[in-house]
Symmetry: C2
Subunit: 217 residues, 2 copies
């Protein structure tokens, strides 16, 4: 499949690496086509890796991952233009308020009664936004078995059932067990998963190592 | 031990029941001494159960549980007066914004960059606030073994180490395993645990049964 990854940070390149390994064609999107991180990343692979602007990558992708920093996500997606229309957008980003210090908090307008996932869906109503993978370390996203043989929880939400089913299939291809994927319903569920960030950071402070959240019942 | 439970709802009476069962003397506190729910509760027991005003209960208790609804907590604690001074206050409440509809959200001034636990600590600087048990169903608080033999996570935070150690001992007496109690540091950790509410509600919607959160690492 042709997949676009918007963003050149740790999350974007980690997911891209796994998708290329699985045989997908991946284009990394960034503000500029000459983005050094993107070029450096692409040069690691013989094939199936390329880079371009946000718009070029989105146009290329049948599915698009948003791995841009939360505060820049809407702007990056605007730059992607019609490239994201009628497509599945897997949103992995967290709206961290980088203007405030520690403890890190969320952008006030994008928490509690709203979320970045919802804001993206409202801004781009013809894009099928699916929020997932945003409650864990990037390596764990693509190697769920590094903890408890993959027996921990990855939440997913979004308004379009077919889009969610397609994303679930991709998650299973990446290595997620069916029973580890918990569907929280429509995109307003991203208030919950993005809102986990403050607790996530405190757990990190307490454990100082790779961890995940598991729903037990 | 003499323990005060402020609040006559499901959380307060559930915790009170367990503490009485363990042999502690419990006084339920409410706005009025003639509170029907409190009297009805007390009448279930031959001994060790009594009720009074917030102030009478707090004065009676060596340790105090705040199980009042989040939006009324500060006011109830003001009514408790000097009864809470220099004592451990175990805060179990969540600042749900009942003025807004569903999906339920948190009181805006008490989330993201603040929390009810912190607000109580700031308002009553001579009280040792310890936040715990606030991420689960009330029955699970006192019967942790009803899920996975108690192998799930109960978070705790607070500024006073000695107070936290005392509360950990009480939690263990209730039935919590040492390794299930995760210390998140000072009281600002309650931003994290109170902030779990939106995700908690969505998980409830997805599972429709008793569940808990477990940190796996």
């Amino acid at each position: 499949m042709k997949i676009a990854i918007l963003g050149t940070g740790a999350v974007g390149t980690t997911i891209a690496t796994k998708l290329i390994e699985l045989g997908h064609q991946v284009m990394i999107g960034s503000r500029s086509k000459t983005n050094e991180k993107a070029i450096e990343f692409v040069n690691k692979f013989d094939k199936n890796a390329s880079n371009g602007t946000f718009e070029e990558a989105a146009t290329f992708g049948e599915i698009i991952f948003n791995c841009v920093k939360g505060e820049f996500a809407i702007e990056a997606l605007k730059q992607a233009g019609s490239g994201i229309t009628n497509k599945i957008l897997i949103d992995v980003s967290i709206p961290v308020d980088t203007k405030k210090g520690t403890p890190l908090s969320l952008i006030p307008e994008l928490c509690n009664t709203n979320s970045l996932g919802e804001e993206i869906q409202k801004t781009f109503p013809n894009t099928k936004v699916v929020k997932t993978l945003n409650t864990m370390w990037s390596t764990l996203m693509i190697v769920p078995t590094m903890l408890q043989d993959g027996d921990h929880t990855n939440f997913i939400c979004g308004n379009d059932e077919e889009a969610k089913n397609n994303v679930k299939s991709l998650l299973k291809e990446i290595g997620w067990k069916e029973q580890a994927i918990m569907d929280l319903g429509d995109i307003t569920g991203s208030r919950g998963t993005e809102g986990l960030m403050p607790l996530w950071l405190r757990i990190w402070g307490a454990t100082m190592g790779t961890f995940s959240i598991k729903v037990v019942n």
